[in-house]
Structures are given as structure tokens and as C-alpha cells.
């Protein structure tokens, strides 16, 4: 009997191919949406981690409390020793110094007079030491537009757009006018080594990347830095692991009575990010829920239509002596089969597209042009374990649920009217 019904299922394309296609498309879209939303979230987190927050960040307590103002006068001191100690405490992690700075950047003409001037927003990172991974971490190689990377402490990179505004080219001098960590005025000449495109509108307007040593010299911050960023061994942020590191560090180094004692904060606790995490989690949850719900309704409807289409066949089966329960179970069996086949194919297709989006990414730079958020312009999907089973919720359960609801009609059907029904 099962073989007989299976044969009918295969031959009747409206009963097999069509529902399988509907399930496949629905499941593929669900999986793709899940992977893409997860990817956007993770890309945003990683981008923020690489540029500004690390997976964990060490600052002085006072700096942490006023971190919005980037107060370099409250910077960490004795950072070489501190980094050496934390590196011993957490040997699998990497710790790097960062200084965020701002000021004016001046481009002089051939007489040394100001030609152009602009507000600069800069990051000082280790660009020139032998084992530095910062250029790779900030993906500078792919962002270089003109010139080369700095090879000396007094060489800097500017955003391509900012360099054009200042009318400077690689090899030209620029002057940073800022303040030292002790409150004095800092004026330091640099040479433009190259220009880069950050891919983030906010950074492209006024961004500068300088070597940490050059900025430490300029801002009188020898053996000091605003922040020490720590990166976990895993390239993807792991909040549980970061929390362990945070607790261990703070237990050992943080002194609640000393405002200059180092404190560690993990990525998720960053003041600007904690809300973002919750918001993105909530929105991605809502989007996926709505998507699953919508697909469930479509597939449920498909199950209902499938049941109604076979009204005549079911009537005949009842008339020749098949029991209602047997017909109901066989319909659900078919729905399970269609759900499994469609969900499996849909999951594979969804994962295939997600893998492609994970590798190639989707460039949304055009629509991010006026954004002030530090967000990547290329979003990639991210295949996570739930992607392997998430599609089965609409794919399998909805078809089966639809068939079960449609099948209730079998139980309500009066055998007394079969002759009449089968004559129309």
C-alpha cells in the first residue's frame, strides 16, 4: 500500500513536485535570511572589534568612565610592562596598543603656509614593528589607494577623500595640530605615505591612520596609550570567553579606589555596543520569526490545498473501505516525506547561497554613503549551526500541520454523501 501511494505521489506532480518546490524555496529563503542577518550582525561586531573596541579593551578606570571624549590625559601608563604581564596571563590572546586622537590636519603650500586644513579623526596603531598584525587586522592592504604603507614613525595614511580635500599626495608633508596627554599644544609634522579607502563614510571623510610610535612622540605619550585592545584566538567574538578574560583581569588588576588602575571591558559591555547587541539580537529574532511565520502560512496553505485537491480520491478510498484513520495517516506520511525532501533540498540550496555570500559578500557601499555609523560596506552571510536545522521548522512542521488541518475534513466527511459527492 505504501509503495502504491508513493508511486502515486511521484507521478502526480501537483502532489509531489509542486509542494516540494514550494517547501524548497521557502526553506532556502529562510536559511539564507538567517545566515545573512547573522552575518551582518557578526560583520558589524567584528568590524567594531577590529577598529575600536577589540574583543576586550583595557583602559584606566577614569578613561573608561569618559571614553566618549577619548581623554588621552587619562591614558594608561607603563603599557609595555602591562602588555607583557597580560600576555603572560592570557597567552592565547593578542594585545595591541591604540591611541585615538583628534585635532586639525594642515597641508602646507610650497612656502610653508597653510594651503588647506581639516578636522582629523585618527587612530594610532602599530604599523611598522616586525611582527605587527595590525595592517592585516584593519584590512589595510585591500584599502590602499595611492602610495605605500608607512615605514617610519613619522609617516601616515590618510583617507583618499580627505587627502583630496587637503590637496596632498603621497610624499607631501602634513602637520597635526593637537594636544599632548599633559594638556600642552602638540604640533608635529608627518609625511603622507599613502591614501586608503576605509569603506565607511564617517572614516572616509576625515580618517587618518598613524604609527603608534609617531603619535606617542607627537602627543608626549611615551610608554602610554589610550587603550589596549585584546583579541581572542578565535576570529569570531565569543562573549563567554571574553567575559572569563574580563573577570580574571579585573580581579587581578582593577582597583576600585584608584582611578588610574587598569580595568578591562569586553566588547558586549562597550557603552555604545551593549544596546546595539540587544537591538540586533531582538530585530534579527523578529525578522527570522516573521519570516518563518510567513513561510509557515504559505506552506500550511500548500498543505491545505493539497488535501482539498484530493477530495475525490479520498472519497473513493472511503467508499471502497479504507478507514479514515488510515487515509489521514497516509496523508501525513506523504506530508512528512515532502517536508523532509523539500527542507533538505531547500537547506542545501540556502546553505549554498549563504556560502557564496559568506565568501563573496554583498557590497552595500552605495546605500551607506551618508551613514555615520562604523559599519562595513560589504556584508557577508555567516553559516551558523542553526542554519542546518532552522529551515525544517517551516519546511516540515508547517506542511505537516497544514495537512493535519486539511485532513480534519476527512473525519468530518459524512460517508452518507459519498455517492453524491463522487457524482459531481
Amino acid at each position: 500500500m505504501i509503495r502504491f501511494l508513493f508511486k502515486g505521489l511521484l507521478r502526480d506532480r501537483n502532489r509531489s513536485l509542486l509542494p516540494v518546490l514550494v517547501v524548497t524555496v521557502g526553506v532556502a529563503l529562510t536559511v539564507l535570511a538567517h545566515c545573512y542577518i547573522t552575518g551582518i550582525l557578526r560583520d558589524s561586531i567584528e568590524f567594531t572589534a577590529r577598529y575600536s573596541s577589540g574583543h576586550v579593551k583595557i583602559m584606566t578606570r577614569a578613561y573608561a568612565e569618559n571614553s566618549d571624549q577619548v581623554p588621552n590625559d587619562l591614558a594608561l601608563l607603563g603599557v609595555d610592562e602591562l602588555i607583557s604581564n597580560v600576555q603572560d596571563d592570557f597567552p592565547d590572546m593578542e594585545f595591541v596598543q591604540r591611541i585615538n586622537f583628534g585635532g586639525l590636519l594642515d597641508s602646507p603650500d610650497k612656502y610653508g603656509e597653510t594651503k588647506k586644513q581639516g578636522i582629523v579623526s585618527g587612530i594610532a596603531v602599530d604599523l611598522i614593528s616586525e611582527n605587527t598584525k595590525e595592517t592585516e587586522r584593519l584590512n589595510l592592504a585591500g584599502a590602499l589607494r595611492k602610495g605605500r604603507f608607512p615605514e617610519k614613525p613619522d609617516e601616515v595614511l590618510l583617507s583618499d577623500e580627505f587627502a583630496e580635500k587637503l590637496e596632498v599626495n603621497p610624499g607631501d608633508p602634513v602637520t597635526l595640530i593637537s594636544s599632548t596627554m599633559y594638556g600642552g599644544m602638540a604640533v608635529q609634522n608627518f609625511v603622507l605615505a599613502g591614501t586608503i579607502e576605509f569603506g565607511v563614510e564617517f572614516m572616509d571623510r576625515s580618517g587618518m591612520i598613524a604609527d603608534i610610535t609617531g603619535i606617542q612622540n607627537a602627543l608626549d605619550m611615551q610608554d602610554a596609550c589610550g587603550e589596549i585592545l585584546g583579541f581572542l584566538d578565535n576570529p569570531r567574538y565569543n562573549d563567554e570567553m571574553a567575559m572569563q578574560v574580563e573577570q580574571t583581569f579585573n580581579n587581578k588588576y582593577a582597583d576600585p579606589d584608584d582611578q588610574f588602575s587598569p580595568v578591562m571591558s569586553r566588547l558586549k559591555n562597550e557603552s555604545l555596543l551593549s544596546g546595539f547587541f540587544e537591538m540586533v539580537d531582538m530585530f534579527s529574532g523578529i525578522i527570522i520569526f516573521v519570516f518563518i511565520l510567513a513561510m509557515s502560512i504559505v506552506l500550511w496553505n500548500s498543505g491545505l490545498i493539497g488535501g482539498l485537491r484530493r477530495y475525490g480520491e479520498i472519497g473513493l478510498r472511503l467508499a471502497i473501505g479504507e478507514e479514515k484513520g488510515h487515509i489521514y495517516r497516509s496523508m501525513i506520511g506523504e506530508a512528512v516525506l515532502i517536508g523532509i525532501v523539500g527542507s533538505t533540498i531547500g537547506t542545501l540550496i540556502g546553505l549554498g547561497f549563504s556560502y557564496w555570500l559568506q565568501e563573496a559578500g554583498l557590497d552595500i557601499g552605495g546605500i551607506m554613503k551618508n551613514s555615520k555609523m562604523m559599519m562595513p560596506s560589504v556584508f557577508r552571510a555567516n553559516i551558523t549551526p542553526p542554519a542546518y536545522y532552522l529551515g525544517f521548522i517551516p519546511g516540515l512542521f508547517s506542511v505537516v500541520l497544514g495537512t493535519m488541518l486539511a485532513g480534519i475534513g476527512i473525519y468530518r466527511r459524512k460517508t452518507a454523501s459519498l455517492f453524491k459527492e463522487l457524482e459531481t
Partner: protein, 232 residues
């Protein structure tokens, strides 16, 4: 023809609820059908023919009175036992054939046997025999869409007859057929009735069918107005 009772109906009343009361579709019917009969309920639309077949076919139950079909009291049958009675002993022929379009002729006829859990070899033999009875041995692999209306109805007869039921109920079996095909179908059923001693009970108002009946039970407004043995 043997005289053993296949169906015994006594004091049968069937009422359907309708606005403000009940509609009496069958009113105090007393009838008996013996093995091998070729009988039919005749009468205009609304006279109760199909309701009668429904009750005999265990698809419905009487409101009053009794209907004993193959020693089964229709009033007392659970839905499981009613399905079992239909599966084992009753065959149905419908006006619109109701063949399953995705299956071949062979598979359509085989379908009732699958419910009886017969072996594949037994099923094959029974199906080929049934198709031979109706003269469709050469259409085994055809699909219903490839057959004429008359051929489809012959497949439906083969499907009803394949399990060699004791009783076949046919509701307007020739309504969709032309004269030639109707006669062909009726001759086939008549032959099966004689060869296999299967009891046939029709519901019809088609003169072509009525001419073949050996017992004609006239119904009007739910009452038997005549019960005649016809001598051809």
C-alpha cells in the same frame, strides 16, 4: 439463482433534518435481496434511490427499522466494521467512474486488493482476470485519460468486481455513456452476475438500465410503489 438472503430490510425509515422538522427520504421499507439478484431501484430524482444504496452500502444508517447486509446490522456497525464490510464484500460503481488519473488501469483495479493485503501474485492474477471479464486486457498499462468513457466505466466495474464481492451497488452507472456503451456495460455486468453469482443493485432512472433488470423496485416519495420480477 440461489435464494440465500444477502440483504434484509424491515421497517426502514430514513429522515433528514431540515428547517422546521424532518424530511422523510425513505418510509417503512421492507425488502429482501437474495444472492445473484440483478435488481434496481427506479424512480424519479428525490424518490430515495441513492439513500437506499447508501444504507445498503453501510455509508449511512437508518433512522428507524433495520437493514441487515450480509449478516451485519447496519445500525450496529462501528465505522471500523462498516469500512471492513465495504472493503471485503461490497463493490461500488459510480456515475463518474472515479478512476485515479495518475495510476494505470491495472493499478486502479488493483487498489481495492491492496486494502485486503493480498500477495502481489494473487493481486496480479485477480486484476488480469477482472480486466479480462470487462474486455480490457489490452489496456493494462493505459492511463484513464487515454480511455473512452465506456472503457473508463468498464475499468470501474473491474475495480468493483476484482475482489469478487457478494454485492455490487451501482448508482446511475450509465448516466454519462451513450447508448452503445451503456448496453456494452450492462451486458458485462449481466454476464458477471450470472458467472460469479454477484448480486447487483442499481439506482437508476435510465430506461436502458431498467430493460436489463430482472427485478424492478419502484420508489416514489420514499415508498415502494411496486416490486416486480421481470421476465426477459
Amino acid at each position: 439463482m440461489k435464494n440465500s438472503e444477502i440483504v434484509k430490510i424491515s421497517g426502514l425509515v430514513k429522515k433528514f433534518p431540515m428547517a422546521g422538522g424532518f424530511f422523510t427520504a425513505l418510509d417503512k421499507i421492507d425488502l429482501t435481496f437474495g444472492e445473484g439478484e440483478f435488481a434496481g431501484f427506479v424512480g424519479p430524482s428525490g424518490s430515495g434511490k441513492t439513500t437506499m444504496l447508501n444504507i445498503i452500502g453501510s455509508l449511512d444508517t437508518p433512522s428507524e427499522g433495520n437493514a441487515i447486509v450480509l449478516d451485519n446490522d447496519i445500525n450496529q456497525l462501528s465505522s471500523h466494521k462498516a469500512a471492513l464490510l465495504r472493503r471485503k464484500h461490497l463493490g461500488f460503481i459510480f456515475q463518474t467512474y472515479n478512476l485515479l488519473p495518475v495510476y494505470t488501469v491495472f493499478e486502479n483495479v488493483e487498489f481495492p486488493l491492496l486494502l485486503l493485503r493480498m500477495s502481489a501474485s494473487q493481486r496480479k492474477k485477480a486484476v488480469l482476470d477482472a480486466l479480462e471479464w470487462v474486455g480490457l486486457s489490452d489496456k493494462v498499462k493505459s492511463r484513464p485519460a487515454q480511455l473512452s468513457g465506456g472503457e473508463c466505466q468498464r475499468v470501474a466495474i473491474a475495480r468493483a468486481m476484482v475482489k469478487k464481492p457478494l454485492l455490487v451497488l451501482a448508482d446511475e452507472p450509465t448516466a454519462n455513456l451513450d447508448s452503445d456503451n451503456s448496453h456494452h456495460i450492462l451486458k458485462t455486468m449481466e454476464k458477471l452476475n450470472k458467472d460469479l453469482l454477484t448480486t447487483f443493485i442499481f439506482a437508476t432512472h435510465d430506461d436502458k438500465v431498467i430493460r436489463y433488470l430482472r427485478r424492478k423496485i419502484s420508489l416514489r416519495d420514499g415508498k415502494v410503489t411496486a416490486d416486480e420480477i421481470v421476465k426477459n
